[in-house]
Each structure stands twice: as C-alpha cells, then as structure tokens.
Symmetry: C2
Subunit: 314 residues, 2 copies
C-alpha cells in the first residue's frame, strides 16, 4: 500500500487559499478573530489497524480523544471541541457505555466538549475531529524550526512501543515496567501542562505518533534544516536503556509525547519553568544548518535505521 | 439496532457549555467573531450501508462532499472548509483518482476547500467534517419554527428514493425519469443559491436526508409546534404524482433538499425573489400551534405511515 504521505501528496494536497494553514501539519488553521485561529485536526481509528478487536472500549474511547488532543497541543492550540463519528457492526449498549466513559473522561481532563457527530452501522470505525484555539503568536508549525534551536521532548519515549511488544509476547519485562508500558500504549496522556507553559518560547513542534526519529524528520524536512541528537539525553525508562532497547524510544510509535524546538536564548527561561513546576521535559539536541539527522552516543555516531535518513520518504 | 437518535441521546448528548450550539441540529455552532459563528458538521459513509460496494468512486466523492454541504446550508451557513478521513482496504490509485475528482468538483461548486484529513487502511469508510461561517442574524435552527410560519421546500422530493427503487429493480420508470432519478440519488446538488437568497427571511431549516416527513418532524419536535402539509403542494416529479407514488416524496430519503420555515409576512418578499431569480421553491404548508403533523389532500386527511406520528421516535 502506498504510504499515507504519498496518497495525500498525489490526490488530496491542493493548496488552501482561504485557510491560514491547510494540509501538512498536525492541524489546519482557520481564522477565528484578529488575534486567534481555530486549529482543526481529524483522525480515523480502524479495528485491526489501530487497535485489536478486543480492545477495552473504555481505553479505546480514551485513546480516540487523546490522540486528537495530542495533535492540537503540537500546534500550540488549547483543545476545546470534538466531533465523533462512530460505526458499529451492531448496537451494543455495554460497549457504548464504556467507550463513551473513556471518551468523556479524557475530554474532561483536557477541557474538550463533544459538540457533534454521527453514529452508523458498519465495521468498527472511529473518527474524531478536534478543534482548539491558538493565539496567533503561539502557533507551533513544523516548518518553523530555526538553526541553533534546542530540541526538547516531553515525558519518556518508547514506553508505548514496549507495551505493544509485551502484549505481542515479543519482549518480557519486569511487572512494574509491563504495567507502566501497557498503560502508556492504551491510555496515552499528552503533556498539556508543559506545552501550555513553554509554548510562548518555542518555534516548532510535532507530536510523536509514528516514532521520535520519524516525527522529528517531519520537522526537519518542513523547516529545511537538520538536527544533532544525543542519545544519552533522549528520555526513556531506565529499564529500556539498561537492556539496550533504545530503538523503542527512537523508532517506536504511539507515544503521544511532543517534540518542540526553542531558541537557545530561551533555554534558561524554560529550565526555570521546569524546576518551578516540576515538569518532565528533556533537551535532546540542536537544530543544525546541515540538512541531516545526526544521532550520536558519547561522540560516537549511530547509524540510523534504513528509511529514516533525512529526505528519504519514510 | 437502536436508532442513531437513541444512541446519541443515551450516551453522547451532554450539554455543550462552551459552544453556542452542540449536538442536536444539522451542525454545531462555535464562536468566530462578534458577528459570526463557525458551523461544523460531520458525516460518516459506510460501504453496504450508505453506498453499494461497486459505487462509481467519482459519484461517491461528489456525494461525500454534497451531503455535508447540505447540512451546513440547513444552518444558514456558507460552506468553506472540509476535512476528509478515508479508510481503504488496499491502495487503489484509479479509485482514489476518481474519488478525489468527484470530491473536489463538488467542493468547487460549493466553494469548499480541503484543509486536512487522514488516510488509513480498513474497510471502505469515508468521514467528512465540514465548516462554514454564518452571520449570527442568519442562523436557521431546527428549534426556531414559529406558529403561523409558512413551510417551504427546495427542488423536488422523492427522486433519490425513486432512483434507489429503480436500481433495486423494484420500480420500472420511463428512461428520462430513470436517468434523472438515479442522478438525483448518486449526485445530489443541494440548492445553495435559493437558501443564500431567502435565509435572511427564514426562521428554521433542516435538510431532507431521512425523508420529508421524518425531517419535518425534527423541526416540529425541536420547536414544540405542529404542521399542516398540503400534499398537492409538495413538489415532486409529475410521473411520481401521476403513478400515485407520493410516498417516495413523503418518506424517501437522500433528497438533500431543504425544508425552511418563514413568517407569513415574508411570503411576498420570498415570492418576488423566486420570480426574479427563477428559483425552485415550493410553499407546502404552515406551522401550527397544535403539536401534530397533519397531512391533507384536497381537504381529505391522509393518515401518516406508522412511525411518523409526531412525538413518537422514528
């Protein structure tokens, strides 16, 4: 199958004229008022593709909301409204009750109201459209990373990918790690507070859905820059590092953490905010002029996996 | 299966606080600026439910856009932006090329730009979210029909339902009618021009997707009023009337025409506009205080089909 990127590029990527920002970022931007945009994004989740047939409906409801929240945060927007379309093979009150509980609980955590939707019959499919407002000064575009910017990442990476491997019985991990990583996979919690605090000092952002290296690449391509990443600074669980499973943090998807770039001169301001608010944010590298993605560990260059070399399609 | 209405009512209909209008109309309304709202609606189309497996992708693309345009027009809004999510079992360039052609051609007709979306693998599913702006003075809510209002309908009713019956080989019709009705089913064309012209004089509106009687009922319930409809004034193709298939016009779905209500004192203004612009709009009845839907033909009351009696769920 063609990649999503190729399909969009070939058939659907027409330049938006009336919108401030159309296809090509975590969300589109349309006018609200003189100072503000509405940011809008949509995500479809399909059984057997994005989730297993017997996924706990509560967690599925949570995740359907959370992945959309993550998209808006990565634009610098504050999530506000959602529309939910849901196709179900047959009416199932118990399933719907649990699904809606997860969906609304996650919505409550991120201040999102359901304002519309559609319910229909069909193979289990969930589509969420989310809207939030963003001050025009705070927009975080993929294309706005600047040479010399620090690269920051929220939370820890690789946990969701570890959770999936554990469920698939491809990895065995201690019980505490097992629990934590499956929870990261099934109930992602985008770090809204951190982004709210630091977005005024940042230039660019993207959420980590495909994997850290892959998503960072989207910023580099859109901004026509490169990056140098220091593996020792990439935030990951100690057990992942100790057992040399760093690839989970670099290439694993579904983290719904956020990569942000900010000018070096903002570093001390950001660090003060982190200390004051006890926020989990790591500085993992810098944006470079050289249009390559360079990964190193204690001065030793680490070869990137095939398909993750800058300017190749991934 | 529970009806869509019951599912929404039971699990998803929480009162919107931050939105001007949440669930329960053709679209939700959120703030744009002091004078204007954004109207937003979403619709999911599933194979075997909303369209047959071998539907021409061009027409499917057209219809996916058109049914959403119809929702916005029925709010008094001017369509502007769309987001498209599409799940495909496998990559199919030919199919996507034709689908996107239909989608964009319809978008062009109604001035709608694609600004975002999602493409994924899964059973063929299409979800469109549409946005348009509406002057706060021009909002057409289902709940705003007033006693004494004239009831108006755009275009002709029943053609799409006739088209479906012909395709299903349940009805035989002359070739011109066959062609016209299948076209009405597969390539609906909401009457934007009429609505643009007359919306400043109207109180309430809804689009005809489930069927004229069923959708009119939604207005009556939301507005806590009744209606008297004169069958002879309900616009339908001569052949449908001649062959006594009026039920197609009353109960058939998929017309994507619009029902509007307007104060009686606006009648002459509306009629002048119709003559001047050669618009297809019919006055079919009046809104009554008595909370019943009354249908008559030359002073003879016509019994409504079961399930279409006011205040019963349909």
């Amino acid at each position: 199958m063609k990649t999503e990127f190729e399909i969009i590029e070939k058939f659907f990527n027409k330049k938006a004229i009336k919108a401030h920002k159309g296809i090509g970022d975590d969300a589109a931007l349309i006018e609200k008022d003189g100072k503000t945009f509405w940011a809008i994004s949509t995500d479809m989740l399909n059984e057997k593709v994005h989730f297993m047939p017997n996924t706990d409906p509560y967690k599925l409801g949570w995740k359907a909301m959370a992945v959309n929240v993550s998209d808006l945060l990565a634009m610098g927007a504050s999530p506000m409204f959602a529309l939910l379309s849901i196709a179900l093979p047959k009416s199932n009150s118990d399933w719907l009750k649990k699904f809606s509980k997860g969906f609304f609980e996650c919505g409550k955590k991120y201040n999102v109201e359901l304002i519309g939707g559609d319910t229909t019959k069909g193979p289990l499919t969930i589509n969420v459209t989310i809207l939030g407002d963003v001050n025009k000064k705070n927009i975080l575009l993929r294309s706005n990373a600047k040479i010399g910017d620090d690269i920051w990442v929220t939370g820890e990476l690789g946990l969701a990918a570890l959770g999936l491997k554990i469920i698939q019985k491809k990895i065995n991990a201690p019980s505490t790690i097992t629990k934590k990583s499956i929870n990261a996979l099934e109930k992602p919690k985008p770090n809204m507070l951190i982004i709210e605090k630091i977005k005024p000092f940042c230039n660019a952002a993207i959420d980590v859905s495909d994997g850290f290296i892959s998503d960072l690449n989207h910023i580099l391509i859109a901004s026509k820059v490169g990056a140098h990443i220091f593996l020792k600074d990439v935030p990951m669980n100690k057990w992942i590092r100790k057992t040399e499973k760093e690839d989970l943090a670099l290439y694993g998807g579904d983290d719904y953490q956020t990569i942000l770039t900010a000018p070096k001169k903002m570093r001390s301001k950001i660090e003060k905010l982190l200390q004051k608010n006890n926020l989990e944010l790591s500085r993992v590298g810098i944006i470079t002029k050289d249009k390559k993605l360079h990964l190193s560990n204690n001065d030793k260059t680490i070869k990137l996996k095939k398909g993750y070399i800058h300017f190749e399609k991934n």
